[in-house]
Assembly symmetry: C2
Homo-oligomer: 433 residues x 2
């Protein structure tokens, strides 16, 4: 049973606070193991990668077979059905078009003193993308990480994807091909992150690493952060649906379950001003949980972290949603645009009941890598910006330096940074000679 809350209940705040602070992730502490793996890879390079892959993935490699060759990729992707290929191509095209619009502009201007100011964006030179193996090896994740990197102009994009017992996922390889990935290695775990960050004889180091992974991968990313850039460490998925009751309860039930089926720690919340509708959605969830393939996972998530909240009106629903700052927010209401104006914190908003969250996972265009665990209060989903960096530009003229240099001298003096001040003074002196 999920939690049922009602904002008119005097105990509502207690129940809602418990929902906000629910500890949904209990990561095992693997930090010592990961530290050892990273130092082995730094010390022994390819040999360490080969040893770990034999041990963890039951796969015997040589330095020559660490990379998946172009011919192998060709052979694997030939097995993809034409329907799946067309779907991936449609998704890749839409994701590329959306992200191309995110490219920021350079700027350059001359101010009233004659100083030229501005900035310039440039891509990260080399990026690495981690793709999990096994059940969570999602081709859509490859598109969502790799396409923004290539749109940003990343010159070299390498993927690491483990191949337990040698098994490759043809759709992952096709997604990589469609995204323009340059190199693919069949290694996984903390050893793959170490190889991307520090390099080995075969794998050149990268500047930025993105992509999801298990506790070992997450711990390794935290450890190499600073040496390279990383994306966020994603937590379990979340959806919050605000519904006024006009959509078929079964649709909302399926939307809630489409997060719940990801992970027993996922969280699905419905907020509605219509208590009877809330109960109808709960019944529809129960009915779907009878037959869903992943009912064990979805059922556990719904039981432990699910919630149906009855509220006074949609204004109150928006306020509650802002306190949750959900990763995914569906506005299944008559006027979703008006309601969306009241939303201050959310990773992605899906407007109207014609926009199930699953559209955003695959083919909508926006990225599906989004801030979890209330971090939409202060962070954004993955975008081309994650693969770009800005260099600021300043050019003084003698006149500009005469106009603003004395203020720099005064501030340097007030901070007791004499050389700072003298570097301006020496130039002004020549101008005044």
């Amino acid at each position: 049973m999920p939690v049922f809350l009602d904002t008119t209940d005097p105990n509502f705040e207690t129940g809602f606070a418990a929902l906000l602070s629910a500890k949904r992730e209990d990561s095992p502490d693997v930090d010592d193991t990961v530290a050892a793996i990273i130092s082995e890879v730094r010390a022994r390079g390819d040999a360490a990668l080969i040893d770990y892959t034999a041990r963890f993935d039951r796969l015997s490699l040589t330095p020559e077979t660490l990379a998946i060759s172009r011919d192998e990729v060709d052979a694997e992707i030939a097995r993809v059905s034409s329907e799946d290929r067309a779907a991936l191509e449609l998704a890749a095209g839409r994701i590329r078009t959306y992200h191309a619009r995110q490219m920021p502009e350079d700027a350059r201007w001359t101010d009233e003193t004659g100083a030229e100011l501005g900035w310039r964006w440039g891509p990260v030179s080399a990026a690495g993308l981690y793709v999990p193996g096994g059940l969570a090896s999602y081709p859509s994740s490859v598109l969502m990480n790799a396409i923004p990197a290539k749109v940003a102009g990343v010159g070299r994009l390498a993927i690491c994807v483990p191949a337990p017992d040698g098994v490759l996922n043809p759709l992952v390889l096709l997604a990589a091909r469609l995204s323009g990935v340059d190199e693919i290695y069949r290694i996984g775990g903390a050893q793959a992150i170490a190889a991307l960050a520090y390099g080995t004889e075969t794998i050149a180091p990268v500047d930025k690493i993105t992509g999801p992974g298990n506790a070992y991968v997450a711990a390794a990313k935290r450890r190499v952060f600073g040496k390279v850039g990383i994306d966020m460490i994603a937590g379990p998925s979340e959806i919050l649906v605000i519904a006024d009751g006009e959509a078929d309860p079964d649709w909302i039930a399926l939307d809630l379950m489409s997060q719940a089926e990801h992970d027993e720690s996922a969280q699905s919340i419905l907020i509605t001003p219509d208590a009877a509708y809330g109960r109808a959605v709960a019944s529809a969830v129960d009915a779907r949980l009878e037959t869903l393939e992943r009912r064990a996972i979805a059922g556990a998530s719904w039981r432990d972290f699910g919630a149906i909240i009855t509220c006074r009106d949609l204004d109150e629903a928006a306020q509650l949603s802002n306190r949750v700052a959900p990763e995914h927010l569906e506005l299944c209401v008559a006027d979703p645009e008006a309601l969306s104006e009241k939303i201050t914190h959310a990773g992605a908003i899906f407007l109207s009941h014609w926009t199930p969250e699953a559209i955003g996972d695959y083919v909508g265009g926006p990225n599906h890598v989004l801030p979890t665990a209330r971090s939409a209060r202060f962070s954004s989903g993955l975008s081309v910006m994650d693969f770009l960096k800005r260099t600021t530009l300043a050019r003084m003229t003698p006149e500009a330096l005469r106009a603003i240099g004395p203020a720099a001298e005064a501030l340097a003096a007030s901070e007791s940074l004499e050389a700072h001040g003298l570097s301006v003074t020496a130039r002004l002196r020549m101008l005044n000679e």
Copy 2:
């Protein structure tokens, strides 16, 4: 003596690699202490802040005096000289004008299927800024952190600045006033970071924390990351100057020393195709190190981490600079624009010998919080973007769902995420009825 390197020397790569990998920061491991301080503040709130402030800052506070009152700020800033006030006002105005141009645009469009797509930017609701006490209590840092936050539209901006023995820095308070800071607390260290992240009876929690600090502050920021957003953990400052020999060697010497005087771990590097000019700059540094107020610090930095590199030509200089990915890069050459086109990684570029780096520290307009330790390869300086987050938007119509829904169904099936697929199928079925 700094290192002298020459790219035509057969051992150059060894020396240059040593420069790149020099470990310039040796942070004490204070993590256990910091963890204890954070849990004390979480458990005991204001009382813990008062205890730690008595112990570390020799200052006795009450819950009422944790905040610096408006009257106190008024009294302190009345002590600022009119010259210093004018300099801070000029700096604040220029920084505000520059950062206002960084505000990104929202976007919304309808694609060929009728789907509406886009994104929207919004500010972080509340931000906290840490300002160190003592020697490194820089009013310019307050401007550089607080103004971008207020330009972004942050509603509530709180500063924590320790007041050892009760002493306040009037210029820091004036900088806070000019920047529009809403609350100022006289607390520092890990306890201040804990208070900003988790809140106490007196201090409401924030969503994002920025600003420099000592090893305790840095460790505390790492620990609260996730609960709140943080900016980068800045390392020691760096400057790289590429000079063709036309500028007075003393100017370049002062520019190099203006980083070196920050910190014994700072790094200053000159790259020039003119070996004699390199020697002239080295002599000018030696002469300045006779008299500089901070010659002990600047001299140690120059001796341990300084370098003068003779190169074949400016192309080679740009390539070497890109391998360093310096925080600050001065292009003191005849055609700095042409050379800047070859620069791929740098936090900030200062074009021409009329633009000493110190201008950028105070009054240029661009931010002085910049990526250190080679992280300009993958990250950018502080900007309004650090106080904004993006929410993506998607709205399907029945027609759009009919056009792209089947691809989502196919991909969901290929990833064995049945509920994802069914959430689309249920809607398409109704459309097809």
